[in-house]
Symmetry: D2
Subunit: 308 residues, 4 copies
């Protein structure tokens, strides 16, 4: 079982992939680093891997647009699971380095954003070197090209480094959510605490379309946990909506809402129904349970045969 | 084929019953007058008649509450057809009567409502005697118990009366709509220009329920032609809603809306789907045709089997 | 201080008028019976009376259409107060009459509707004589023209009758709400437990207008206690809406909602803001108090001057 | 008149700043490059510049989060104008470089997003170096630290580079919208073709808040041209909404909607009302013009004084 993930080794995504593989007791899981979100997802589409693990949302930076855009616009895949991890940065350096020795610090641009205040206070005026990943920064520190890297403390041993300063992030509760993506096929069964993800592309020039989409969910008592507009790339103001809602597509209310969204939109991409990692059970509003949908359907059938 | 109607002979309802029987080429139709709306509907429920014809809505007085309350609260029956007639009143009296002789005027309470200004101007201060029908008033005039009756001019010869004053109604374009009611059984097929009637009883104390009900129709592009609250009799402020919407319960959008209303209400009574008498075809909003519902259902089935 | 009311003496409306006059400590109140709702309201419009008291809603029969139509369509007046009374019928007869003696029973048609089961059980087959009021029936019993009347037990002494059977109404909790109507002028001050009444006339052929009107109230957190469509008389399907909402027009949220309804409707008639008789205080939703409206207005003024 | 802009020299933003300064006939405009969006906006806040020009939305990458987050979270400033430019990228390199020589490519992260397919096809597997601007990437190419840069072809001569490949963007109609930001103060006057920008922070844990916000605009007939959720940084699922709507805050309907949003949200930041650069005039729905608001306000004042 190969898990392609956004690499290189030592990233938070690798940690998420390990958590997801472990949670399924995949003793045989092989974690395969990829150079980009797109490369990890392509590995699943081509069969080079059975699973991809990519970040989808950060509490600091919002949805990960590379992930959302690829899921919405690329070949069909399905989200199968999610997990979330606290994002905690350490300042990694070679053994023996002191703060006073640090002249250059590297990492992914998002790392700088999340540690800005600490850097300004503790390493004012040092040169910041933006790199493609925090792990790449750690590698360069190991090779002597940089003095320090912002990265997960867990990456230190891998590159022969020590943690010069732990917890250098400005916000203590930063989290990132990661998803496990699989090829099309049977869905994870409903658990009562599920999430469904989709991308809804609006029909041309249809004012009020967002309101229509929201109403399809609201009228059936379905809460949305995320809604984000994203450009389709076809000009300023041309958007699709990335939506996470509570519930599973096998739930009657979610299925009917999906059909409703399908009918008012130009296109809808279903991206998966999967267990929520935050443990919160779905609140089912009066009149929207599967039993109530089934009862109403039986009643309608009687009415249509003239037997009220 | 017996048509029970709100009698006695000479009422507008008798004329409507004749129109409805003729429109179905019921050469064998037998028109049976009943003493009240309730009696006519009971005749259908007990099998004493195959059809009942009763007024349901007046352009002057609004819905006919006796009809709506009986349909909503009595045993199951189904509206099969509708027709509408212009309502024109004359003041009927015995030969030789002058306006100055008239001390008492009788008729159905709705007749008073439709002739109120004429009465105030021409017969101020006279006693108004409310009766179960205009024809009953004409009958009493014939027997000398009343001085004048508000009724159709066509009823005059039947009771040996003359038209003391024609066209005494305040508005010249008054119309009444009548429905033909049948026992439960197969429905008239959809025609593309149909109406569906229902009564929706709210769950206890649920603020915003009307908005919820309206949304169930609006989200599926269904126009309402009538919506009226009526007391359930269980205290001030306890209501049900009588609703006429466009379309047939066999239409996918109407069926789904009916199920939605069923799920948010304490009880829903389906009162029939039948061709509209005004000939207007139903406007079908983008995304709400039967074909679009069927396509969305097939798509959902594919999604649930993991084949987006 | 003259109170015109829907007479004759001995009606429930007279009792309501007495309650309303007493509640204001009008020691000098003179109760003036009128032949109809319209006559009572006209008395206020012409100055023949300072107040009119008329029924507006029955828990059994719904809104009183004569009252609502006259308020919505006649000259401007304002509802100043309301009260409600239990509606309890007795069977009134001359001293010495027994049930077996009763061959004819009279009353207002609504009285028959509210006592139908009792009559069918206790006086089956007796002739029912519909009259313009229950008090008129009592008067006729006193004169010997009728054997018994359905009327308030309180009317018995006035017509020299006794109560042959008390509490002959089918439902024990029937209530009617009455309003006290005044000429245009200053309004009763807000009390925190008020009701506002209005009539909204739709612009021509505007589908979805009811939804628009409801939204104007809902978006500002205002509950509606009554909403009823009434024909304008201009043809089947041409309606106005009679609406009772919670709150006073001096409340910021009610005032803004009224302006919103005014802008989406062809015409709006304001019928008054007055204390509720049921004592329930208005629930004020987060963000809709006068203080919150005032704060937002001050903020907007700052923004418009470029001082966010 | 100093215009701080997202530099260095040679960025698309510099071109936008020139357009905006020219459009106001600022012969004396001095364009001042800044190292980041934040630095440009800070220059206006501190008085180091009178204006800042920053990108706010790309047709490919969506809103520019650094701009939106800074406007929403930093000190008060006001958007005064906007313009938009086509975004066309070339691959810039030193004289004599061939594609085969290119091992590292740099640019702003949005540049990578807009050229992703071209890079995957023509430079697969090369290291991507995210930098604070495309011009910075060009500068580093000039200094030999990078092999190639994604940037405007116009920037090539400025850094002594040549265009190794023109038009490497994936979509040919990519546009970016830029805004001119001023210190708090009087607003540009309404033109009938305006846009208003705001940031709405939800109250804690309030389900359905987005629907509420949208309804505040919809009920007053105001179209939204952009709506984007952004994390507040306080945990997964904690968001604010960045909204562009049609119209000017001096328009009655926009002002009332702003107050409504203010009342249902924890906090609202007004970011400016300014002329739209796309020339489209605002559609004013029936019942939402300034004249209709004024008429309704006068009517309400009469009602409150008891003169309907």
């Amino acid at each position: 079982m190969r898990y392609a993930y956004l690499g290189p080794e030592g990233t938070f995504t690798e940690a998420a992939a390990a958590v997801l593989a472990t949670s399924r007791a995949r003793a045989d899981a092989e974690l395969v680093p990829c150079a980009s979100v797109g490369a990890a997802l392509t590995a699943v589409r081509t069969g080079a891997a059975e699973r991809a693990v990519v970040p989808i949302e950060s509490s600091v930076e919002g949805i990960v647009t590379a992930t959302v855009d690829d899921l919405a616009g690329g070949g069909d895949v399905l989200i199968w699971a999610e997990t979330r991890l606290p994002i905690e940065f350490g300042l990694l350096a070679r053994e023996g380095t002191t703060l006073a020795d640090v002249k250059t610090v590297g990492g992914h641009p998002q790392a700088e954003g999340q540690c800005r205040r600490w850097l300004a206070t503790n390493l004012p005026g040092r040169e910041w070197v933006p790199l493609s990943s925090n792990a790449e920064a750690a590698r360069r520190v190991g090779e002597g090209d940089l003095d320090a890297a912002l990265a997960s403390a867990a990456a230190a041993p891998r590159y022969g480094l020590t943690v010069l300063a732990p917890d250098v992030h400005d916000r203590s509760n930063a989290m990132t959510r990661f998803v496990e993506v699989a090829p099309p096929g049977s869905l994870p069964p409903p658990t009562g605490a599920d999430r469904t993800s989709l991308a809804a592309f609006l029909a041309d020039d249809h004012a009020g379309a967002l309101m229509e989409i929201l109403t399809e969910f609201a009228v059936r008592g379905i809460n949305l946990s995320t809604i984000q507009s994203r450009p389709t790339g076809d000009g300023l103001g041309s958007y699709f909506f990335f939506i996470d809602c509570e519930g599973h597509i096998d739930d009657a209310r979610v299925g009917e809402a999906m059909m409703g969204v399908r009918r008012v939109c130009a296109e809808v991409r279903f991206l998966g129904s999967y267990p929520r990692c935050d443990g919160g059970r779905t609140q089912v509003r009066r009149g929207t349970s599967d039993a109530e949908f089934a009862e109403a359907a039986a009643w309608l059938a009687r009415l249509r045969y003239g037997r009220p």
